[in-house]
Structures are given as structure tokens and as C-alpha cells.
């Protein structure tokens, strides 16, 4: 319950944070802390130094920029819930619990790339873009390139995820989730969005090592067909004592069907 000791500093700015990370590769970023601090309390993580970016104004707020909403990485889940951006508010309502949502941040969650987190499915379904800054400057990564593996995102060492750009023009969206009964993380979550061009994008989270699109489902729905079954391969899924790979694959089918029916 008592983390191992560490040095702590608050970042003055994003650039300051990036410089500090470059000076000290062992520096660990803390945002809302709702993934990092639980691990530190159990001493599963023992970073020697923390850099706190939670209060950086430049990472707060939701703005509009042309065809995009631009969401600061330090916007909390609670603020996402109350916002008018597509899909994410419904998804945020499934994250943790109210206290977690008041403190946990959208950027922290997405950069952490927990395979059972909810947002990655929403990012993939909306086609969100990720603005990432490092010593070499700023780059933008598409959702399809963001989630690389278990706890592995496109945000590299020394970089910060600063903003998430979410396209406007999504006419409808839904999220269906099957929760882990104890932790309430996603055993499977399926997100779906109908875009400005009428096309549906869909993605799942929780079931495998990383969140991913559901191409077979998109194809069927965009062809006016039902969701059907066999959307993912059981062999690609994770399995544990709460849900085998086979069950997870089945849940992807069930939740996809429900999502498609709700999407209309």
C-alpha cells in the first residue's frame, strides 16, 4: 500500500516535460495516476522519478478545429462523459467508476494501451488521430497505427501524447461492453460509429492483446447485411479463468450484433 519512494516534480509545460524525459530516461509520466499508482502501491511498478503532467493547461479542454474535435490528453473521463464529442461519452461512462472517472484521463488511458481498456475501441471506430510530441517535434498517428500490442502504443519513450483528434460528422455511434465481473474492465467491448460518408467503422477491445478493427463486420454492415458470426478468430483471443478465448470470440459476435441493431 506504500509505494517505493521516488522523486517527484510537476512539469511546467509539455516542452519542459519532454526535455525532462530526454534528460532522465527513467522518468515516468504520471497523469491521473489510475493505472500507475495502483501498480506502485503493490510495488509492481517502482519508478525512481515521476513527472506530473496532470495540471498542464495546454493538455486540458476540448476544442474544435475544422472537422475535428481536439481533446486534450489530460481531459478526465468525467469531462469526456459530459462532452458532445461522438461515441467517447458513452464509452467513458463504462470506464471504472465515478471516482476513477473524476481523476483518470483520456490521454493517460490511450497512451497506456491496456488491452482491456474501453477507449481504444472508440478511437478505432471513430478514426481518431493522436497528436504525439517528442524532442523531434510533433507527429500525428492514426488510430489504426496507435495500438501496437499489450500495453504498447505508438507513443515512444521520451514522447507525450498531447491531443486526440476525433472527427466530426459521425451521425450515430454505440458501445456494447461485457464487463469483467470483478475488475469491471472490458472482457469484450465493441464500438461502432457511422461516419459522415455513411460508412460504418467498428472495433473491439478487451478480447485480444490489443484493440483492433473488425473488418469482416464493417464489410457486412456496410453491405447492408447482418453482423453475423465468426467475426474474429478464437485463436487470436486472450483467455483466462473468467473468459476463454472461445468465449471472448463469441462475445465479439454477440456484442457486434447488439451494437449493429442499436446503431440502426
Amino acid at each position: 500500500m506504500y509505494p517505493a519512494n521516488f522523486d517527484y516534480q510537476k512539469a511546467a509545460s509539455v516542452d519542459d516535460a519532454i526535455k525532462a524525459m530526454s534528460d532522465n530516461p527513467e522518468l515516468k509520466i504520471i497523469a491521473g495516476g489510475h493505472s500507475l499508482l495502483p501498480a506502485m502501491k503493490l510495488r509492481l511498478a517502482q519508478p525512481p522519478a515521476l513527472l506530473d503532467i496532470f495540471n498542464l493547461e495546454e493538455l486540458k479542454g476540448i476544442k474544435e478545429d475544422g472537422d475535428f474535435y481536439v481533446v486534450g490528453a489530460m481531459v478526465t473521463h468525467a469531462d469526456v462523459m459530459r462532452s458532445k464529442i461522438p461515441l467517447f461519452p458513452e464509452v467513458a461512462g463504462w470506464v471504472g467508476d465515478p471516482m476513477v472517472r473524476n481523476r483518470g484521463t483520456i490521454g493517460g488511458s490511450l497512451a497506456h494501451a491496456d488491452p482491456s481498456a474501453d477507449y481504444p475501441a472508440a478511437a478505432l471506430a471513430t478514426g481518431a488521430e493522436f497528436v504525439i510530441r517528442g524532442m523531434g517535434g510533433e507527429r500525428t498517428v492514426g488510430a489504426d497505427e496507435m495500438f501496437l500490442g499489450m500495453f504498447e502504443s505508438a507513443v515512444e519513450a521520451g514522447e507525450l501524447l498531447t491531443h486526440i483528434r476525433i472527427p466530426k460528422g459521425i451521425s450515430s455511434s454505440v458501445y456494447e461492453k461485457y464487463r469483467h465481473p470483478a475488475s469491471h474492465y472490458a472482457i469484450v467491448g465493441v464500438a461502432m460509429a457511422r461516419h459522415a460518408d455513411g460508412q460504418i467503422r467498428a472495433a473491439y477491445t478487451g478480447a485480444a492483446e490489443k484493440a483492433a478493427r473488425l473488418p469482416k463486420l464493417e464489410e457486412r454492415l456496410n453491405a447492408g447485411q447482418d453482423a453475423g458470426t465468426g467475426l474474429v478468430e478464437g485463436a487470436d483471443m486472450l483467455g483466462d479463468r473468467f473468459a476463454s478465448a472461445e468465449f471472448r470470440a463469441h462475445l465479439v459476435d454477440v456484442l457486434s450484433d447488439r451494437a449493429a441493431k442499436r446503431l440502426g
Binding site: 500500500m1 506504500y2 509505494p3 517505493a4 519512494n5 521516488f6 522523486d7 517527484y8 504520471i30 495516476g33 489510475h34 499508482l37 495502483p38 506502485m40 502501491k41 503493490l42 515521476l50 506530473d52 496532470f54 468525467a78 471504472g96 467508476d97 465515478p98 471516482m99 476513477v100 473524476n102 481523476r103 475488475s183 469491471h184
Partner: protein, 164 residues
């Protein structure tokens, strides 16, 4: 590190290790032991307090992160002679047995009532999913929150309700 935290309207300055969790700061440095610890995985909600009016798990915030902020704990909600409507609700409706989860329940419920003056049973249950109670089966906790909402609606204790 030196931190100054405004707790229940009073500033407290203490020298803390960076690793000090807010809950330990409250309990061990300020001896405000109404805030409890029930788990070490940020799930049980017994440690719920308000920072800047928002309910948070004080076991998952560092004391240094609360530097300069307003924290409200159960001790700041009301006194036996001047109870907050939620405290009255939990008392009247037998919303507690051992009392250990109760401060967290009250602090979490207070935030709900701030945003939703007349929550349904379902909304209450949804909002309290991050607070474990092992004694009550939640039945009377739901009734307690509903009762508090009624009291607040009647404005019987409007003075206390307004400042939360």
C-alpha cells in the same frame, strides 16, 4: 516536500515524502481517520473524499498532487448536531452496519446528488458501483440516498446542502 492542502476549509502544511498517498496524509499526518482504507487496488471506495468538489479515491492521489487544492472529507460534511442530509439519510434508513464503508459511500453519494437531485434506484446503483459494502447488500444505501434527495428537495437543510 512541503505541501499545503486545504482540508475541510482549513490549510494544513506538512513535510511529506512524495510517495505519501492523500489518504495516508489525511489519516496519519492530520489524524482525520474518518477516511478509511479497504483495499490496495483502488477499488473499494472506502477512501473517497472530494477534491475541488469532485469525488476521488484518496488512495490513488499523491498528497503532493493535492498541494494547494481543496479537500473535503467526511469530517467536513456535518456534525452530530448539524448533519448533512446524506448523513441523516444513512442514519434514518439504516444505510450502514459496521460503518467502515460509510464515509466513502456518503462522499460518493454527495457527488451524485450534486449532479442529479432526484436519482432513480438504477442511477444510484450505477453511481455507487465503485464503493463496496459487505454489510447492507446496498438495499438500505439506495434508500438512504433517496431519502437524502427528498430532504434536500424539501430544502429542510438547504443551508448545508448548498455548500457541498
Amino acid at each position: 516536500m512541503n505541501v499545503t492542502v486545504n482540508v475541510n476549509g482549513k490549510p494544513y502544511t506538512r513535510d511529506v515524502e512524495p510517495r505519501t498517498l492523500l489518504v495516508h496524509f489525511l489519516r496519519e499526518d492530520l489524524l482525520l481517520t474518518g477516511t478509511h482504507v479497504g483495499c490496495d487496488t483502488s477499488q473499494c471506495g472506502a477512501c473517497t473524499v472530494h477534491i475541488g468538489g469532485e469525488a476521488v479515491k484518496s488512495c490513488t492521489v499523491l498528497a503532493v498532487q493535492a498541494d494547494g487544492l481543496d479537500v473535503k472529507t467526511i469530517e467536513g460534511m456535518g456534525t452530530p448536531g448539524d448533519l448533512h442530509p446524506l448523513q441523516t439519510g444513512f442514519w434514518e434508513k439504516h444505510g450502514l452496519q459496521c460503518g467502515y464503508c460509510t464515509p466513502g459511500m456518503i462522499m460518493a453519494s454527495a457527488e451524485l446528488l450534486k449532479h442529479n437531485a432526484n436519482p432513480s434506484e438504477e442511477e444510484i446503483r450505477y453511481h455507487l458501483e465503485g464503493n463496496y459494502c459487505r454489510c447492507t447488500g446496498y438495499h438500505n444505501i439506495v434508500k438512504a440516498v433517496q431519502h437524502a434527495a427528498e430532504i434536500m428537495a424539501q430544502g429542510e437543510q438547504a443551508g448545508q446542502a448548498a455548500d457541498d
